[in-house]
Symmetry: C2
Subunit: 386 residues, 2 copies
């Protein structure tokens, strides 16, 4: 028995009005709008604005926000030179964490620091920084993809929306509208998820009044961990390891007997199937229909695994989570597996920035206590007497 | 009234045996040893080993640890090339956050990730990573100082201890032993301080099983904030603003009336003078004696400010904290003001790594809850109807 809640499970760390989860019913809502509704009717730009500002934008506000996002699709040449100095075989998440942290050096005017909490929580400042960071994150991920392949960089296109431009810059081809829409839905699904570890890292870092690049870089670091965003990349590796639908049951029984992690399964917040996995599953079915039934073998293995897992794990409340199907969809969009978590980071930047905005508007620096289990005060013995 | 503790004040977030604070008596102890004793009798290498492993090292363990630290005083040339690609007028803390995050790309063998918590908490792995990170951090700060001045890099010297080598690489001159000893004491004083925001950011990031470079980078981001480590740089700016001891009282009364932050004053954990400020104050007095009474004007202003603040703020439990005198001492050591927080980060890496070790040895990912204050589920209205 310990006197603290490990991982702060069940302990409220903040007040927040950004998103809510009903784990029994399997509902995730942003500002009151369930994600299945948003993926069906909204798009990423509108959803980001909803997360940042609290309401669906009025007719005139959305084009203005969208135009600002497009206008900020640019990076100083020095940032790209910095990226060229990074080892090409490095992981995109480590590139992102590193390069985002450097942006305060490249754009010093954007981080001129305040002398008090009040001046920092200036709404205009926070708003424009959120736009700049959201606009630049996909450029970093996409440029990195081209740089590491030794291919020519693809300049952003202001005539494409957020999802289509990102996919275009990543793959070099303007996506067909159906695929861009899938990408857009994935971005919406990953945009926000209450106080998870990366969002919490952003809040803790932001509470020191660190600049927003430092804040988002810290969140990227947390998201890179295999127990958090890093899991989606691992799902594909797991499906490769299984090899075929026929081998699923034996493989799963062995893993469960050895108490090893089944990637993409289970979530502390949900007692039912993660609503994001429900939407993603539906999107893959749409893709299968769009392609006249043709899709890679990952999907067959994943469905068999979901079925086998249902028999063995549903009683424990363990179902597919968002990572289970997202990798399969990204794979079909032509994105390499080690970029999946970077895509997650690009999408989640909206949620991180919304929480950063909320944190600094009513800030107190995070300093929890500890249950001290160490030595009482004791005498120092010189080295010769030990 | 809110249903959560803002900043998690008073809420235990972990069990820990690394350090303890007695805020009433003004005692900070690492593993049971008060910091005034450690600064008087220990040195940074020994204190770091104490923090990491829990006990003062036996006679043979210390030289082995020290030798490993010295042997790891090296960086791949690519890391220095990366630093050259960063804008020279950028802040050292942003450089550190960025470059430390990149180290996993330069040293991929050091971050090969685990498939379960158990394999990751391998004691040998954790131990060697702590040594590598502690050995490399001062190189980054010192190389940056030379690079941004356009001066030749100074290679580390294996014949100098941690503090002397760091000061040598920063300033280009082998320090006299008295000054190296002051630096060593500063490193000890900044090595650890229970669950502050940067340590907590390291724990939250580490709890996702992110690699240790990502973890330490996140902690650096949190420390960079002006409400945390960034304050020590601001104290000198504040003393400049005051200008002379005679102007202290008027300046202070105006600031207090405007409810502005007095940098280097007050700490949530202490009801008396921060024990680190007590030791630092004593070190400055030693320096004054060593120099036959000569010291820069900052110290005179700071003493006057401490006196004036005592009359006005002591009843509220507001006294000088660690940042109040550290900047003055660093200034006398010849270190530029914007490097002060980077020095803090170099010293604190021992504590961060100790907490990272503790976190992953008994890990649960951080996921606190929130008090949801937002909208209930609501209907989506198409743009044309808003």
């Amino acid at each position: 028995m310990s006197a603290h809640a490990r991982g702060l499970a069940g302990v409220p760390a903040t007040q927040s009005s950004i998103s809510s989860i009903d784990g029994e019913k399997g509902i995730l809502a942003y500002r009151g709008y369930p994600i299945d509704v948003l993926t069906a009717h909204s798009h990423y730009e509108e959803t980001a604005l909803l997360l940042l500002e609290g309401e669906l934008p009025a007719a005139q506000a959305l084009p203005a926000f969208d135009a600002e996002l497009r206008a900020n699709r640019a990076l100083k040449p020095g940032v790209i030179e910095l990226m060229r100095a990074l080892p090409r075989d490095g992981h995109p998440m480590h590139m992102l964490q590193s390069v985002v942290a450097s942006l305060g050096m490249f754009y010093p005017d954007e981080i001129s620091q305040p002398t008090s909490t009040r001046t920092y929580a200036d709404a205009d400042y926070v708003r424009i920084m959120a736009i700049k960071i959201m606009a630049r994150m996909p450029l970093l991920a996409a440029y990195w993809e081209r740089l590491r392949r030794g291919e020519k960089l693809i300049e952003p296109r202001a005539d494409l929306d957020f999802a289509a431009n990102f996919l275009y810059m990543l793959t070099g081809q303007e996506p067909e509208p159906f695929m861009a829409r899938l990408m857009d839905a994935c971005l919406i699904l990953h945009a926000e998820h209450t106080i998870n570890a990366s969002t919490f890292a952003a809040m803790v870092t932001g509470s020191t009044l660190a600049n927003p690049y430092s804040v988002i870089s810290a969140a990227i670091g947390a998201l890179s961990g295999p127990l958090h965003g890093g899991a989606n990349q691992r799902v594909l590796g797991m499906l490769d390891e299984i090899g075929s639908p026929a081998k699923v049951k034996d493989w799963l029984d062995k893993k469960l007997a050895a108490k090893e992690i089944i990637w993409g399964m289970g979530h502390r917040e949900y007692k039912v199937k993660d609503p994001r996995a429900v939407v993603l599953h539906g999107l893959i079915e749409k893709l299968v229909a769009h392609r006249g039934g043709k899709i890679g073998h990952y999907y067959d293995i994943a469905r068999a695994l979901e079925e086998a897992a249902k028999e063995r794990l549903a009683a424990k409340g363990v179902y597919p989570n968002v990572d289970f199907y997202s990798g399969i969809l990204y794979h079909e969009l032509g994105i390499p597996a080690d970029q999946f978590t970077a895509l997650f980071a690009v999408a989640r930047s909206a949620g991180w920035l919304a929480h950063w905005t909320e944190q600094i508007a009513d800030n107190r620096i995070f300093r929890p206590t500890q249950v001290y289990t160490g030595e009482a005060l004791r005498e120092y013995l010189p080295l010769r007497d030990r």
